[in-house]
């Protein structure tokens, strides 16, 4: 846990980078600092490991005032990842990762095992161990940066725009991998970015700062998007706030309607009844395994014996329960009948999601 208690930082030239900040970062969670440049988010991050000393106020890490320990000692238990990576160019990747273990004085074997494990953890191959940072790509270097920060298993991590210097594709990959890692590691993390989308994607909580180090709102991404505290936050969240909200809600959160669906042997009358119950004029046609074969307007079935007498129209808009409502909405745009089908892992019909289903999720 990290606590800020009335922390203020004013630089000698009068600039205020942190204005009476009081908040708490719960253990095992990732809190993202976000805001325009000059809002003091990096300064606030750097006060946590005493790279910058606050003008007033108190910061505690795991209930211990950070001023009660010498700065170098404090930093050994705080992982640090920055945008420029800051790897040591004259040391091999293995030695870079071993930085903190060697400062703490681990024995060789333990260090070597840990380095090997971490190279694996961050998704690199073991043959990078003896290379120098200059021989690696930007994305690989950033992975090494993360491995180095994790080396001695610190309880707290500080990350300053860690994925800011890599191209968008690699960034998104590194974000996903780091989120997966964090789900296992449960570190207490402070993460700085200027990108609100990254903040929403990465953060368990988001702290939005405005110029002059003012904390405008501190909330979970869902709370933030649902009820922004003021105009600054609304502006900063940008357009498509509802789409961003939908992106955070899995389709499992809404109750998909059970129909309208029929099987091949059903009669036109049954199909019409199904459609009427769901308020549609069409039905999905399911096979014996409850997989969607296609869809049909009820009027096309009328006059035939069975549903299977009419070739069904193709349908492809499926979502899984882990997909977000935003993915569902995107699929809806392509859907021939305005509906999306939620399927289980085996691809079997679970329910229908339509435009009318959405408000439940946004409540």
């Amino acid at each position: 846990m990290i606590t800020f208690d009335s922390v203020t930082k004013q630089f000698p030239d009068g600039t205020i980078a942190a204005n009476d900040l009081t908040f708490e970062v719960p253990s095992g969670e990732m809190t993202v600092f976000v805001g325009p440049s000059g809002c003091g988010k990096s300064t606030t991050l750097r006060m946590t490991n005493r790279m910058i000393e606050p003008t007033s106020g108190q910061i505690s890490v795991n209930d211990r005032d950070i001023k009660s320990v010498p700065a170098p000692e404090l930093r050994l238990d705080i992982g640090y990842v920055i945008q420029q990576v800051g790897l040591f160019p004259h040391l091999t990747i293995a030695d870079n990762i071993a930085t903190v273990p060697s400062l703490i004085g681990w024995d060789k074997q333990r260090t070597r095992d840990r380095v090997e494990e971490l190279i694996e953890t961050v998704g690199l191959s073991q043959n990078v161990a003896d290379r120098y940072p200059g021989q690696l790509s930007g994305g690989q270097q950033q992975r090494v940066g993360v491995a180095r920060a994790l080396a001695a298993d610190p309880s707290v991590m500080l990350m300053d725009e860690p994925f800011g210097a890599v191209d968008p594709i690699v960034r998104s990959l590194l974000q996903d991998e780091f989120l997966r890692l964090q789900r296992e590691l449960h570190k207490t993390i402070l993460f700085v970015t200027h990108d609100i989308d990254e903040a929403i994607k990465m953060g368990d909580r988001i702290a939005i700062f405005s110029e002059g180090g003012v904390l405008e709102q501190y909330a979970t991404p869902t709370q933030l998007l649902a009820s922004p505290a003021n105009d600054f936050v609304v502006d900063f969240l940008g357009p498509e706030r509802n789409l961003k909200r939908l992106a955070l809600i899995p389709t499992s959160q809404v109750e998909a309607q059970p129909g309208p669906c029929v099987s091949a042997n059903d009669t036109p009358a049954h199909a019409s009844e199904e459609a009427r119950k769901s308020g549609t004029n069409w039905v999905f046609v399911l096979d014996d395994e409850r997989r969607v074969k296609g869809w049909l307007p009820t009027e096309e079935i009328e006059g035939h014996q069975k549903v299977s007498d009419v070739p069904s129209r193709p349908f492809r808009e499926f979502v899984a329960s882990s997909d977000s409502l935003r993915v569902a909405l995107d699929a809806m745009v392509e859907s021939p009948n305005g509906a999306v089908v939620r399927v289980d892992e085996e691809g079997r019909y679970e329910g229908t999601i339509t435009r009318e289903t959405f408000p439940q999720g946004l409540e």
Binding site: M51, P72, L76, I82, V85, G86, P89, R131, L136
Partner: protein, 220 residues
């Protein structure tokens, strides 16, 4: 007028009968180079660290060593005579002083060339100041520091010859002898050996630097 070839100008019999002298003077030249550069580095290195720690001291330090550097060599040697006579010290002390400007400047600039994010992340990982200096910053500054040593060494090799005028000089003695007697052989021998020594010393330092910085050349 017919052109004389080098072989005709050189008096080979003088060379064979003076091999001992030539070797002695060469050794003397080496000593008169190594000692001032070594002493110079031993003085410049701590001063440079002081200048990095307290940057306000850097300008006055550069100013002072700059003034020393600008004193004409011969004048400085002559000034020394009343204190140290015609001993080796009369040569070594000024030669040492001449190396300071280059060695201090290159050490400070070398440390300043260490990328900020690198020394900052060292600090943020928990390195204390001294360990950070020796483990991270100095290794990265080394190419620039060695570049300073190379310039200082080559400069010193040239200056040593001048100290022949105060009875030292190594190979400079040969050159002076040839000059005074209008007899080119010792002059050419001294000159050639001095140049060869300078080139060898330069390449030697360069290869030491390359051996110590494998990371600079490693490419995937």
């Amino acid at each position: 007028m017919t052109r004389l070839s080098l072989a005709q100008v050189l008096d080979w019999s003088w060379m064979s009968s003076n091999l001992d002298t030539i070797w002695e003077q060469f050794q003397e030249h080496v000593i008169l180079t190594i000692l001032p550069v070594t002493f110079g580095f031993l003085i410049a290195f701590p001063l440079a660290l002081v200048a990095v720690r307290w940057p306000r001291l850097y300008s006055p330090l550069l100013g002072m060593t700059g003034v020393l550097f600008s004193i004409p060599t011969l004048a400085l040697f002559v000034v020394m005579i009343p204190f140290t006579g015609l001993s080796r010290a009369t040569a070594i002390i000024p030669l040492t002083l001449y190396t300071l400007l280059i060695l201090i400047r290159n050490t400070v600039e070398g440390l300043a060339s260490v990328p900020r994010d690198v020394s900052e992340s060292a600090e943020a990982m928990g390195y204390r100041r001294t360990r950070r200096l020796f483990k991270i910053e100095l290794p990265l500054a080394m190419p620039v520091i060695v570049a300073g040593l190379r310039i200082a060494t080559v400069n010193t090799i040239a200056y040593v010859a001048i100290t022949s005028l105060i009875g030292q000089g190594g190979l400079g003695q040969l050159m002076l002898d040839g000059f005074q007697r209008q007899f080119p052989t010792p002059l050419i021998v001294g000159l050639t050996l001095a140049v060869a020594f300078a080139v060898a010393a330069d390449l030697g330092l360069l290869s030491i630097e390359r051996a110590l910085t494998p990371w600079k050349r490693a490419r995937s």
